[in-house]
């Protein structure tokens, strides 16, 4: 049985129809039966969850005002700090660290909203990859086809929502790590504007591009979770200290007045499989998007984002690279070593190119409020597969999952990945790309597409 929508659960608990403790028991039972199939959870925080659910039920019995997500179960990628638990970040190395002294900032925020944290989710080691074929904790499997990848690096987050174990999960997105699993697992995922949500207490990967964000089974749940996490936090140097700008009120506004276009040009269209072309066409038709805007220099943007990623990630882990090489996941180890050896010039050029690319997108947003592009050029492929043929040539499969997402986290614009579900085929995500700080525009289009039946989890 699939988890009911988060907001429906919250409404029924607030109305006295359901007890948070019972919702939790059903959730734990679902995890018990589903998780052995897809390996999404690496830790269940049952004791804490029971305590928090009882607190919600007591608060309601006492007539206290409940938070907007009171009693709603959720889980987090295992790079979020959970008080009393070790933050493993998908690694063997960090498993030797002491337990976290406090919850991550956004986990605190969701706790204040009444949500019930039920556990930690599998990921690629240190978020470095797109398939969650984790050497230490096993691969996460796609609930739609267990032989396939759930995507990554937030693979556990995608699978936990898609399998119906929880209605909400948190992931992180540095080069696409929320949008790739959202696409492959057929759920909604939001990468907010860079600096919108605090990353305090979230294990870093590449500070220049690290974002946190939610995955959910509906647009309204995605917005509710995002809204509950907003709050300026001076402790995260990347956090922009913006006032709260909730997205939920925008969901009923429709798309009238929004200029919606499709991302055109060699890079955003050249790699697409027929199914990805069809997913984009479905979303574009339902959104009434007619204009096609050529987006320049996508390949250079991806190259620059990867070079900065290699250098920053290796610098972050430089002590482990010197002392514990054998303990890295074989899938990431050689990348960590090579990233420690890059000429400074390559990385500096990449940082300068980032400014240029941001300016190119500012011009795009002069013509469109929301731009539609595929999230992945193809749907989930079998675990263990190494290559794929795209645009007439064979490419390494794993990095190819990130082709269309990395250029956007590179410049920090907000993107929602919405799931298109072709009959009898694996799901595939479409990106709704908005100007910085205009998450509300992407949410309005996502809600419209959902109402039209063009996208659904």
């Amino acid at each position: 049985m699939r988890a009911p929508p988060a907001l429906e659960t919250a409404r029924r608990i607030a109305g006295g129809e359901l007890k948070a403790a019972d919702v939790l028991s059903e959730t734990l039972a679902r995890i018990g039966s589903e998780n052995p199939r897809c390996n999404a959870f690496t830790r269940i925080t049952e004791e804490r969850a029971r305590r928090d659910a009882e607190a919600v039920d007591r608060a309601r019995a006492a007539g206290a005002r409940l938070g907007p997500l009171a009693g709603v179960p959720y889980a987090v990628k295992n790079l979020y700090d959970i008080r009393g638990e070790v933050t493993v970040a998908g690694s063997r190395i960090s498993a030797d660290n002491p337990p976290a002294a406090a919850d991550a900032f956004v986990v605190e925020r969701l706790q204040q909203a009444g949500a019930i944290l039920v556990g930690a989710l599998n990921m690629e080691e240190y978020a470095y990859g797109y398939t969650t074929e984790n050497h230490h904790y096993g691969p996460t499997r796609n609930p739609h086809d267990l032989s396939c990848s759930a995507g990554g690096s937030s693979g556990g987050s995608g699978a936990a929502v898609a399998s119906g174990m929880v209605p909400l999960a948190l992931g992180s997105d540095t080069n696409g790590s929320i949008r790739v699993p959202a696409s492959l697992c057929g759920v909604f995922g939001l990468k907010p504007t860079y600096g919108r949500l605090s990353r305090r207490g979230v294990f870093p990967f590449v500070g220049s591009f690290d974002h946190v964000g939610p995955l959910a089974g509906s647009v309204a749940d995605l917005a509710a979770c995002y809204d509950a996490m907003q709050s300026p936090d001076p402790a995260d140097p990347g956090c922009a200290q913006r006032p709260l700008e909730p997205a939920s009120p925008a969901l009923q506004q429709g798309i009238a007045g929004l200029r919606i276009a499709v991302a055109g040009g060699e890079y955003f269209e050249g790699y697409l499989t027929a199914e990805a072309e069809k997913a984009v066409a479905t979303a574009a038709a339902a959104a009434g998007a007619r204009e096609r805007i050529d987006i320049p220099a996508g390949a250079e943007a991806r190259a620059a984002s990867l070079l900065i990623t290699f250098a920053e990630a290796s610098n972050l882990h430089q002590a482990s690279i010197r002392r514990r090489l054998a303990d890295f996941d074989p899938m990431t180890r050689d990348r960590f070593i090579a990233g420690a050896l890059l000429p400074a010039e390559w990385v500096l050029q990449a940082h300068r190119f980032r400014s240029w690319y941001r300016q190119a997108w500012r011009q795009v947003f002069g013509r469109a409020d929301v731009v539609i592009a595929a999230a992945t050029a193809f749907g989930a492929m079998p675990l263990g597969q190494d290559t794929i043929r795209l645009g007439g040539r064979d490419m390494p499969l794993r990095p190819a999952y990130g082709l269309l997402v990395a250029p956007l986290s590179f410049i920090g614009v907000p993107v929602i990945s919405v799931p298109v579900r072709p009959a009898g085929r694996m799901p595939l995500g479409v990106q709704l790309i908005a100007a910085p700080w205009r998450e509300d525009h992407a949410f309005r289009v996502a809600a419209h597409l959902e109402r039209q039946g063009a996208v659904s989890a």
Binding site: S208, A297, A299, E300, A303, A304, L306, L307, F310, I321, R322, L325, R333, D334, R335, I337, A338, G339, A340, L341, L342, P343, E345, W346, L348, Q349, A350, H351, R352, F353, R354, S355, W356, R358
Partner: protein, 82 residues
């Protein structure tokens, strides 16, 4: 330090070579060994081929980037606020 450890490999020349995609396996391996020594990183032989492959791929990405005519007045986006 770099003068001593970098004997035989000129990092500037390497970057220039990468721009024309002429960084072959042998040159990449020489670079990896030399720079690793210079930065105090010991690479066990079993990890060397994968490291060289990754360095070669990074060089190809850099080549792509340096082919782009970036105006010289474009500064990095990171702003340090004292």
């Amino acid at each position: 330090m770099s003068g001593e450890s970098g004997k035989g490999v000129d990092a500037t020349a390497l970057a220039a070579a990468a721009r024309t995609l002429s960084l072959d396996r042998e040159a990449a391996e020489a670079y990896v060994k030399t720079v690793a020594a210079a930065v105090g990183l010991t690479i066990p032989p079993e990890y060397l081929p994968g490291t060289v492959l990754n360095l070669t791929r990074s060089a190809a990405l850099a080549a792509q980037l340096f082919d782009f005519p970036l105006p010289s007045d474009v500064e990095p986006a990171a702003v340090y606020r004292p």
